[in-house]
């Protein structure tokens, strides 16, 4: 209908957008109907000489049906919206699908830190790598995130992924996404976190599979790893 959203490049973004559009059409119809009725009533029933107002107290069930039936329809539509939304919700915020790419995201006044476990796949070892404001991921792979914060609340917001999740000090909050397109995108902080809140901007780099392999090789060069072992011997 209109093209105001940022591009969606996540596998579940379409589900979230679909819920938005479902609500949009229901609510849009309600809006047009409501305003049209008000407009009609105020024009049609403005005071005219010689015409008196009708005495309708709306205390009989037959009269009340005029408002109770629409209210019942609203109830049904409400439940429909909730039902439609429930599935998408559990997909996005429920269990994270299995994934090889794990990243710890740490919010800190006023940076996003992304920690990779390195080739050993374990966090907390020597080959961990922490990047400031740069998240590199391959396309079409589930990325498993663990969010936390070092100081205040932050909110990890990737508009193109339709991903938003608060980061809380002391908690590890899971989140995930799977990108469908390569490119460079912005990451924002959506929770007021201090005077530098507006500068807390990161970048998401979605690489093709080859590029991602190249990127990991540059960060964790196999040769260098061998030479340190030689040196130790």
């Amino acid at each position: 209908m209109f093209d105001w959203f940022p591009k969606n490049i996540s596998t579940y973004g379409g589900d979230i957008d679909a819920v938005f559009w479902l609500i949009f059409y229901i609510v849009g119809a309600g809006f047009i109907l409501g305003e049209a009725v008000i407009l009609y009533l105020v024009i049609r029933y403005r005071r005219k000489e010689g015409r008196r107002a009708a005495y309708i107290a709306g205390d009989k069930i037959s009269e009340l049906a005029w408002i109770l039936v629409p209210a019942a329809i609203v109830l049904v539509l409400d439940l429909g919206i909730d039902f439609a939304g429930g599935e998408a919700w559990s997909k996005v915020k429920g269990e994270t699908p299995a994934s090889d790419i794990k990243v710890i995201v740490t919010g800190k006044q006023f940076n996003w830190n992304f920690t990779y476990p390195g080739p050993d796949g374990q966090f907390g070892t020597d080959d961990d790598l922490t990047l400031e404001n740069e998240l590199h991921v391959p396309v079409k792979k589930v990325v498993d995130l663990s969010l936390n914060s070092e100081d205040v609340l932050h909110s990890f917001f990737v508009p193109v992924m339709r991903l938003k999740q608060d980061c809380i000090p002391g908690r590890k909050i899971p989140a995930w996404f799977e990108a469908t397109e390569t490119g460079e995108y912005e990451i924002a902080c959506a929770e007021l976190c201090g005077y530098g809140h507006y500068t807390m901007r990161g970048f998401l780099f979605v690489h093709s599979e080859e590029d991602y392999a190249k990127w990991t090789q540059e960060r964790w060069p196999p040769a260098a790893a061998d030479s340190t072992q030689v040196g130790q011997l």
């Binding site: 819920v19 107002a53 609203v74 409400d78 007021l192 507006y198």
Partner: protein
Amino acid sequence: MSSAATAHATHEEKLSFWRKYIFSVDHKVIGKQYLFLGMFMALVGGLLAYLMRWELAWPESPVPGTGWIPEPTMFQGVVPPEFYNAIVTMHGTIMVFFVAMPILLGAFGNFLIPLMVGAPDMAFPRLNMMSFWTIFTASVVMIASFFVPGGAASAGWTGYPPLSANPVYTGVNWGITLWILGLALEFASFLMGGINFLTTTVSMRARGLKMMRLPLMVWMQITAAVIFMLSVGPLIAGAVLLLLDRTAGTSFYTVAQGGDPLLWQHLFWFFGHPEVYVILLPGLGAVLEVLPVFSRKPIFGYKAIVYSTIVAGVLSFIVWAHHMFVSGMNFKLVMPFSITTILISVPFTIILLAMMATLWKGAIRFTTPMLFAVGTLAMFIIGGLTGIFLGSATADIYLHDTYFVVAHFHYTLISAVFLGGFTAMYFWFPKMFGRMMNETWGKVHFWLTLVFFNLVFMPLFKAGLGGEMRRLYDPFQYDFLKPHQPLHKFATIAAILLFASQIPFLINFFWSLFKGKIADRNPWQANTLEWTAPSPPPHGNFEIAPSVYHGPYVYSAPNMNMKEDWQPQDQPLAS
């Protein structure tokens, strides 16, 4: 009761200036005190909005007319980021707690409840005086916080810890402590007020005034009072914990020492959501009073409205977590809260449809209060409907903390509080001050306000759908938000014009106060009891304690003629 009323009336002359206008125990004077306090604070909140909007349209450029504000608050008219956060925080705090509550509950609740229930005064007049002076003190504390070292509170009007709990995160020390203190005083004030509202309505009603004959404004005020009293306890507890964290080194909200920041969010929103209904119901109450009078019809479905209001009030207590869908609370808890949230649309649908049905087959007279009432109804629909997007947890993932939220709650609150407040002000002005306001200027004020209000906030929906976050000092740091700058320039110019549109109101208000046409008892030909008292009512309100014979909305009944198509509540129904 009649002897009490005469006693009041006779000793009125002897009161000194201080007793009569400053430390008054008369609910009507106290109501006016609340009104003037709220209007003054609205000016403060509005000026903060001006600074904020300018910053959003032209970031880091000097704001016209503010060059005199000294450093470090501003730098030659340029808002620094720290002060921007304080502006955002204080604008929200002031508008909700120091404008909406004093005007809609303080002013109109105080002024109207005793008059509408036929009582000579509130049940506890001295407590009433104390409630005003407590909120007055709270307002002084709030304004003083701008002038302490470090400046005013800057952790958002929701004051989420850890940001609000420790000065190292904001650089603001006294400002946030005073903010908590000011809010605590404000809550204490409205607790006193609420007790008075309830006791007066329950125990001081005129003879014959059954609960189901109460004007809907009274129902809305006491429902609001009950909601407030039941919800504010947890927040006061939460605020005390936050105060202790800040000043005594405790760690209720600090994780490293075993605290939990989410605890605050639960306590805050357990109050914060019902609070929305506290200020919204009286605004709708004013509309419900005005619609029947100017369409000369009974309100449609009186009982349905009363029950819907109570249901909405009850539901408001089990929806708070919809502010926390992406906060990190258990994801399985989310769906139940999403369902209760969206269910609130059902009682409000009934109330809004009842309002529309009241217009149906009416004889509508477009006075200024009626224009504002219909405007409130038309705008509130937008606020209510956009709430569905945010009530849906799934859509909220994307929309949470964006300008969509800002646009939504301004449509909800500006319609109910601002337009609803003006409905009340134009309607009851003759009763409050004994003079009529000018109709032409009132209509100019209405149309300008309606147009510019929409021009300010409609574009913000678009900004929100584009993903723009709230509370950004300079949104255009982000590439994907750069295209929003024309939108913000537009909204800012509209906001300045909306602000300017209030000038006709202010001139009209103060001119009419002294020079307006003298109002008779019942200039609108309305039924409720306040219109049977003189304008303005003397201390003690009624010459004779009224008796009530029927409900408040008997207009154009079949046995009435066209000229005398109303039947005041204190006169028996002609058969």
